[in-house]
Symmetry: C2
Subunit: 212 residues, 2 copies
């Protein structure tokens, strides 16, 4: 009789325990040197193992890039959807969107940076898949802006597409300077929100109570 032992149940679950570390090292190296500028040797060096040993964890350098990009996207994916489905005024939701779009930088800066800068080098299929998702996020922003225009929360003469691209560009750029500037993400998000909602200019009237 073969008895299903505890250890045999665990089998497979324990496989490639170091995989997360490996992918994180890949993210770091790709973020620093770019996908094509980085060699598998660089990744191995960052881990203190031999180049060929990496292939125990991924079957190709391109797959490593895909894994890194996926982890870079996840952060946005989770947060964005929840907010899109949630409640609140357009203004409130835009604030949440900007915050949630910046927050993955806290603990996944390299993954996000690689996703933003290197996804173009993914093989065709996964690039399309990730591109589709990317457009989905743009739409979430755009829809909230349109809603705000329709409800009179935002100016009616906006071009919502331009506004979306402007906001996303602004937020995404943070991935490249977040390391050098040392401002905490919630602070950055706060400044961005005020800039996007109110602009640089002084309000026409004396600073009065804003509709809430």
């Amino acid at each position: 009789m073969t008895v299903v032992s505890l250890s045999s149940l665990r089998r497979g679950a324990n496989q490639r325990r170091r995989a997360p570390q490996i992918i994180e090292a890949a993210a770091r190296v790709f973020a620093e040197r770019g996908f094509h500028g980085a060699t598998t040797q660089d990744i191995a060096d960052a881990l203190g193992i031999r180049q060929a040993s990496l292939y125990y964890y991924f079957s190709s350098k391109e797959l490593a890039l895909e894994l890194v990009c996926l982890k870079g996207v996840e952060g946005f994916l989770e947060a964005g959807k929840a907010i899109a489905a949630g409640l609140g005024s357009a203004r409130e939701r835009l604030i949440l969107l900007i915050n949630s779009h910046l927050s993955p930088l806290i603990d996944r800066r390299d993954f996000v940076k690689v996703f933003l800068n290197e996804r173009q080098h993914l093989p065709a299929e996964s690039r399309r898949r990730i591109g589709r998702w990317s457009r989905g996020l743009e739409r979430i922003f755009e829809d909230v802006i349109k809603e705000g225009m329709a409800k009179g929360e935002f100016r009616a003469d906006l071009d919502p597409r331009m506004a979306t691209l402007a906001i996303l560009g602004m937020c995404n750029a943070a991935s490249s300077w977040y390391r050098k500037e040392n401002a905490p993400i919630p602070y950055i998000a706060g400044e961005f929100v005020r800039l996007v909602i109110d602009g640089l200019g002084k309000p026409a009237a004396k600073r009065g109570p804003r509709r809430r």
Copy 2:
């Protein structure tokens, strides 16, 4: 007696007549595939010549990148300095800066894109040189914003550094989507200006005449 003929005067001036074309092809290929993702063969293919023939025009692939980046920077350089030295209110000058920062996209999109995305792969020395210039441009924006705050044209509670990074991020991102969206640069600049100055939100008071 050797007479200095017209042709001998012209000598050297006529050398490498095709150089601008070669660099433009390099810009196109670097913009599309990234510096390390592009091969010299790709550039040669874009020109319909042999790979080795390129080395008549530049002595290394890295030098080609440098030439492309320089042409990508020039556009900003010229315009930015003139505005910084010019007259006008902070608001007016910021508007000019945003316009002049976007305008090189019209006729040098690939050069700008390569400068923004691939300058990190330049050899140390030229990277530093270009980095120094880049910080110079940031300062131009930041100084105008500070001036606007001091003169009461802009809100006093801004973080001028964050505002600068936000605006530059927004503008620079345009280099990556300008091709797909088909909006003319002056239109994009106009939308960005309104967004930056006034924000998305409706002014607190009824749309009144703004101070000019």
